[in-house]
């Protein structure tokens, strides 16, 4: 039995409207996405499973067989490599939330709000970045507990964090774009392996790209993931910048790291702009 009060509502004083900046609505949209993500813990945990499996089980086992890669302990080498699996999977999972929003969530009310619609994308992105950061910390911690060794210099950590963040922006931009272009959640989930996992095998995650056939190595050099992983390893693990050298063939590590960061940043800017464009165009028929 549903009881409804049918008496006329009392008059209410009209509240003042203020719209000083975009910070408040962005914060509201970010908190909303965070609350939705927190209600679906599987979105936070599931992306961690495979990378952690690689990092703490498969990599140490393979390390016993392969030994070191160019003087780098293989467990540590793969631990960084699995960041390149974790971030894309997490971001692609975050894209599912975009579809849920569209199919059964409050998206239409958000589109009717007096705020630029691009803020919805930026709110989602902020949460994808935060969740990715937490997951990367958990992954690195698990790898350290399993015996991986990293050089924790401030500049190296900063490079690692910047590369990981740019990779996350790139992947989330792709995920949001795809989520707004694909009609059904089932189709989107079907596309996740092709986008989040397949490139990982060619990007120098498990072995240097020089081990690939020439044409495939050339393809790998185009992938943002290859550049991000090379910078991340340079920051935490590979002071000689062998991964960056495989890409650029130069000798100055700083220059190569800057170039690779620029490549990832370009991808990030491009895909984020595309995501905003696709979302705002999809919002208006």
């Amino acid at each position: 039995m549903t009881a409804i009060t049918t008496a006329p509502p009392a008059p209410i004083v009209v509240p003042r409207r203020r719209r000083a900046s975009l910070a408040a609505p962005l914060a509201t949209l970010t908190r909303r996405r965070l609350a939705l993500s927190a209600r679906t813990p599987r979105e936070l945990v599931v992306p961690l499973l495979t990378p952690i499996l690689f990092s703490v089980v498969i990599a140490p086992a393979l390390a016993k067989v392969t030994g070191a890669v160019r003087g780098i302990d293989y467990t540590s080498f793969v631990a960084i490599g699995t960041v390149g699996l974790l971030v894309p999977i997490n971001c692609m999972f975050a894209g599912i939330g975009v579809i849920v929003d569209r199919e059964s969530g409050a998206r239409r009310d958000l589109l009717a709000a007096p705020v630029p619609r691009s803020l919805v994308v930026f709110g989602n992105l902020a949460v994808a970045l935060a969740v990715s950061a937490l997951q990367v910390v958990a992954l690195v911690a698990a790898a350290v507990l399993r015996g991986a060794h990293f050089e924790a210099r401030a500049s190296g950590v900063a490079l690692f964090a910047l590369a990981a963040a740019l990779l996350a922006v790139t992947m989330y931009g792709g995920a949001e774009t795809l989520a707004n272009r694909i009609a059904k959640q089932e189709e989107y989930v079907g596309a996740v392996p092709a986008i989040a996992i397949v490139p990982w095998f060619f990007a120098g995650s498990l072995f240097p790209i020089t081990a690939l056939p020439g044409w495939l190595a050339a393809f790998a050099k185009v992938l943002p993931l290859t550049h991000a992983l090379a910078v991340m390893r340079y920051g935490l693990l590979d002071g000689r910048a062998t991964g960056l050298h495989d890409i650029w063939g130069l000798t100055n590590a700083t220059v190569m790291a800057t170039l690779s960061l620029a490549v990832v940043a370009a991808y990030a800017a491009l895909l984020l702009a595309l995501a905003v464009r696709v979302f705002t165009r999809a919002a208006v028929r």
Partner: protein, 318 residues
């Protein structure tokens, strides 16, 4: 100067609005109307008539192909943020974050519409009380019934205290009792600080009960626009309905004998004759004497359905 005066008195101004979707589907054709501040205005028509497309253009989720529309002077194309700032929408299908609590849904709306946290909290307390949601608003929306979700959406739209409120088929899919109670709540909206309401519906009783004026929409065009009383008055005091074998000849006979005017109309084998100048009993007796009815003859008061039928040849509630 004239525009400024109009903007103060008109909440919604629609001028020659047209929407042609990609593929050439023209959903709205050259529609014009104006809604005064505080008025409850209905767009009445069957599914596919173009009502929701019209609301979509007014709420800036559908881009007009041609024409213009303003909400309290804010052009929906040139100043969409301004138009959205003064309006809110209750959509035809639920648009709620189901895994969040009802209160969280209301808070998000209030904050996005620019209310401060204390203002949002005050407004939420008010609407929750007014809509009988106090006991459930702390639960996740997943646990709400269909009627409770509808009330939550209505309450949410009011949190931002909109000057123009769009209700797009607000009672579709609700059981009759919940629908009746919701109509009562919607009826009370006009008492809330001059909210202008634009309501789309294909339910006649909703339009008759709630709306100050009704635009009857058919295949993307407004075919009639007036108060419900005036629309009904055009069909006389009563309608006499009779089944006949030959519609054309029967109608000709009725007109020849002065028993039917130009406003008589037929759907299938049923003739409907508006009665203006005599009692229903007299009209039935006179028609029965002609011996053209193959079934019973009956009389009833006209409804907006008859107005629609007369204008379009279709029934509203198919």
């Amino acid at each position: 100067m004239q525009r400024t005066t109009k903007a103060r008195t008109l909440a919604v101004e629609v001028e020659r609005l047209t929407k042609i979707y990609p593929g050439g589907v023209d959903a709205v054709k050259d529609v014009s109307f104006a809604v005064a501040a505080g008025e409850v205005f209905g767009l009445l028509g069957p599914n596919g008539a173009g009502k929701s497309t019209t609301v979509g253009m007014l709420t800036t989720t559908i881009r007009p192909t041609t024409g213009s529309a303003r909400l309290l002077g804010h052009d929906v194309v040139a100043d969409p943020l301004g138009a959205r700032q003064v309006s809110a929408v209750v959509f035809q299908e639920a648009a709620l974050d189901r895994s969040l609590t009802g209160r969280r849904n209301l808070e998000i709306h209030g904050r996005l519409w620019g209310l401060s946290p204390p203002e949002t909290a005050t407004m939420i307390d008010d609407v929750v009380e007014a809509f009988g949601l106090a006991d459930i608003v702390g639960r996740t929306v997943d646990t709400f019934s269909g009627g409770q979700r509808r009330r939550l959406e209505l309450a949410r739209a009011l949190v931002s205290r909109p000057r123009v409120l769009f209700l797009d088929e607000p009672t579709v899919g609700l059981d009759p009792r919940i629908r009746f109670e919701l109509l009562d709540l919607i009826g009370g909206l006009r008492q809330r600080a001059e909210t202008t309401v634009v309501l789309t519906t294909h339910y006649l009783d909703e339009a008759e009960r709630l709306c100050d004026r009704v635009a009857i929409v058919h295949e993307g065009r407004i075919v009639a626009l007036d108060t419900p009383d005036n629309l009904l008055a055009g069909l006389g005091r009563h309608l006499v309905e009779l089944r006949v074998d030959d519609v054309a000849s029967s109608l000709a006979v009725l007109r020849q004998r002065g028993l039917a005017g130009e406003d008589a109309f037929a759907v299938g084998g049923t003739l409907t004759v508006p009665v203006h100048d005599r009692s229903a009993r007299e009209a039935i007796s006179a028609i029965a004497r002609l011996d053209i009815a193959t079934g019973g003859i009956s009389a009833r008061p006209p409804t907006l359905d008859d107005v629609y039928l007369r204008l379009t040849g279709d029934r509203l509630a198919a």
